[in-house]
């Protein structure tokens, strides 16, 4: 009755990546190069959603912090580029750094910084659980948000426009294809890593903790360390996504870190389905395409959008993945 993990877990991932890989040629054949940018945006949010889902779906922790972490990643890329462009050194305590527009340096830095912030806030947040966890992560998200707003030098509420040129291994990430393939590669790495992760010893403990924390403790495992590590890892992935968004659009602003954006990411995960690594990719695609499609039809697009979301909540228990499963089972 259990299908081989190769088919169950890896086939959908390969299919998703293949479909994305086909986007550029199809888009160009149809004379719709804009579709590549839409796909890039979906990729970026898919990365963030997959990262969030590690704590949400597999760790059972509903976090509203992740837009904040996404934004931290974006600001790392933005601020690094700002300092390089303006030729002012960035003082990190006693260390002066000239900044960088090289995404091969700043993207990993974005991931690391987000992971560090996630760990710091995770240590406090993980004292709570359930609905209290949701709200304490909301509080931390708001703190990050207002921190970004207070960064006058980097544009404050208006956001930070990157005027310097960025480069990614010699390519210009503002070119649509470069950006697309960069985002696609990151998604591929994130998907493969996440799929391995949930099947690893660490992943088993994380999933067990989500189901029954008391039992896990009785087995001799201290759950909090694993939860914290998961928060840090998913923070790193969200930071990476934020860095990509900033790098590709040369812009980052506090609006990217509002708690509503955290909510959007959760909705993407739930829409797609929490039980699989790849479900959130479907959710992100569905969410963003609906938003784009409906808002092109009418300015009152939030009405049909809301009704669709309600309908999905009522009838799609288990998200799009659940629907696919049921269609196949029928």
């Amino acid at each position: 009755m259990a299908k081989s993990p190769l088919i169950r877990d890896w086939l959908p991932i390969m299919l998703i990546l293949a479909v994305f890989a086909a986007v550029p040629s199809v888009a160009q054949a149809m004379g719709q190069p804009f579709a590549i940018k839409v796909a890039s945006r979906i990729l970026v949010f898919a990365i963030a959603a997959v990262g969030l889902n590690l704590v949400l779906g597999f760790g059972g922790m509903v976090s509203l912090l992740h837009a904040g972490l996404f934004g931290v990643g974006g600001y790392v890329v933005g601020i690094s580029s700002y300092h390089e462009f303006n030729g002012e050194a960035l003082m990190l305590g006693p260390v002066a750094w000239g900044g960088s527009g090289n995404l091969l340096i700043t993207l990993p830095l974005a991931a690391l910084t987000s992971a560090a912030v996630a760990s710091l806030m995770g240590v406090v947040s993980l004292r709570t659980s359930g609905s209290y966890f949701i709200m304490i992560t909301l509080a931390f998200n708001q703190m990050l948000f207002y921190l970004a707003v207070s960064l006058d030098r980097y544009g404050g509420e208006d956001g930070l426009q990157m005027l310097g040129t960025l480069n990614l291994a010699g390519f210009d990430p503002s070119k649509r294809l470069v950006y697309f393939y960069a985002a696609l590669s990151v998604l591929a790495v994130v998907l493969i890593f996440s799929q391995r992760l949930i099947g690893s010893r660490f992943g088993m403990v994380l999933r067990a903790t989500a189901q029954n924390e008391r039992r896990v403790k009785a087995l001799g495992i201290p759950p909090i360390r694993y939860k914290l590590a998961a928060v840090a890892i998913s923070g790193a992935i969200c930071g990476l996504a934020g860095g990509l968004l900033a790098g590709g659009t040369q812009f980052i602003s506090p609006a990217d870190m509002s708690w509503v954006r955290s909510g959007d990411l959760i909705v993407m995960c739930v829409l797609g389905g929490l039980g699989t690594v790849w479900g959130p990719v479907l959710g992100a695609a569905c969410f963003l395409l609906l938003e784009l499609g409906l808002s092109g039809l009418t300015n009152a697009w939030q009405l049909p959008f809301g009704l669709i979301v309600i309908g999905m909540a009522v009838y799609l228990n288990g998200g799009l993945v659940g629907l696919l499963r049921r269609v196949r089972a029928a």
């Binding site: 391995r196 010893r201 029954n212 009785a218 087995l219 001799g220 495992i221 590590a229």
Partner: protein
């Protein structure tokens, strides 16, 4: 005979209520020790303090000669205290195999390994399968725990405790809610395990208790009123008055 587990003057209060009152109990290495008493006597509260889920108000707990009173529950599990829960507590979304495998994995130390797939760890999977065979769940290996029957879940619970290779099994009513058939099966299983593990057994099924236990302790209203061999306990007037008399 060496002392494996010992409580010294253990007290636990909930507000004004004394759930554990000055309990001094010893479990010897290799013995099967049963803890009996009427409902509400404080048996589960005592087990929870032994396992570390509840902290005592005063008194101390000693295990293998060391004071473990302040140790968190996961540390106690790591040094050899395994608990099965009164209300079945398995991981519902995991298969039977995954449940047992997790317990075996936990025993092997930390789980900060992010890449290697546990499904491909042959030794660990074989060990878990072996334990499932031993408790009679070999047919259910790849069935999610949420689908198992009540009796099967109790067996799974025991299998998880075994996979921890504990020095002492804390079994909180392993036969609770079981029918006669399943209960008998569990009794046979525990009898087989007697030689491998020391056990502290909380159980209401007196037939099973007297068949399995080397020694018994009787808890009434949080206080230990007697400890001894099955024959001693049967003969003890206090016990008869306070407890057995009701049956």
């Amino acid at each position: 005979m060496t002392v494996l587990l010992e409580t010294r003057n253990l007290v636990r209060r909930f507000g004004g209520l004394v759930a554990t009152g000055d309990v001094s109990l010893t479990v010897l290495a290799g013995e099967t020790h049963a803890l009996i008493g009427p409902n509400g006597a404080g048996k589960t509260t005592l087990i929870s303090q032994l396992q570390g889920e509840l902290m005592p108000s005063s008194g101390s707990i000693w295990f293998k000669g060391a004071d473990i009173t302040a140790l968190p529950s996961h540390r106690r599990a790591q040094i050899g205290l395994a608990r099965s829960f009164q209300i079945t507590s398995v991981l519902p979304d995991f298969t039977a195999l995954e449940n047992v495998r997790l317990a075996a994995q936990a025993r092997q130390g930390h789980s900060f390994r992010f890449w290697a797939q546990i499904a491909q760890d042959r030794a660990l999977n074989d060990e878990a399968r072996g334990i499932l065979v031993r408790v009679g769940l070999e047919a259910m290996t790849s069935v999610p725990a949420s689908v198992l029957s009540h009796g099967e879940r109790r067996q799974l619970e025991l299998a998880m405790a075994m996979a921890m290779r504990p020095a002492l099994l804390l079994l909180d009513e392993p036969m609770a809610g079981m029918g006669k058939m399943d209960g008998a099966k569990m009794t046979r299983l525990l009898a087989e395990l007697k030689s491998d593990y020391a056990m502290l057994l909380v159980e209401h099924d007196m037939e099973a208790v007297f068949a399995l236990a080397d020694r018994l302790s009787v808890l009434v209203q949080g206080r230990l009123i007697a400890t001894g061999t099955p024959a001693d306990i049967r003969a003890n007037a206090d016990v008869q008055a306070a407890y057995l008399g009701h049956h």
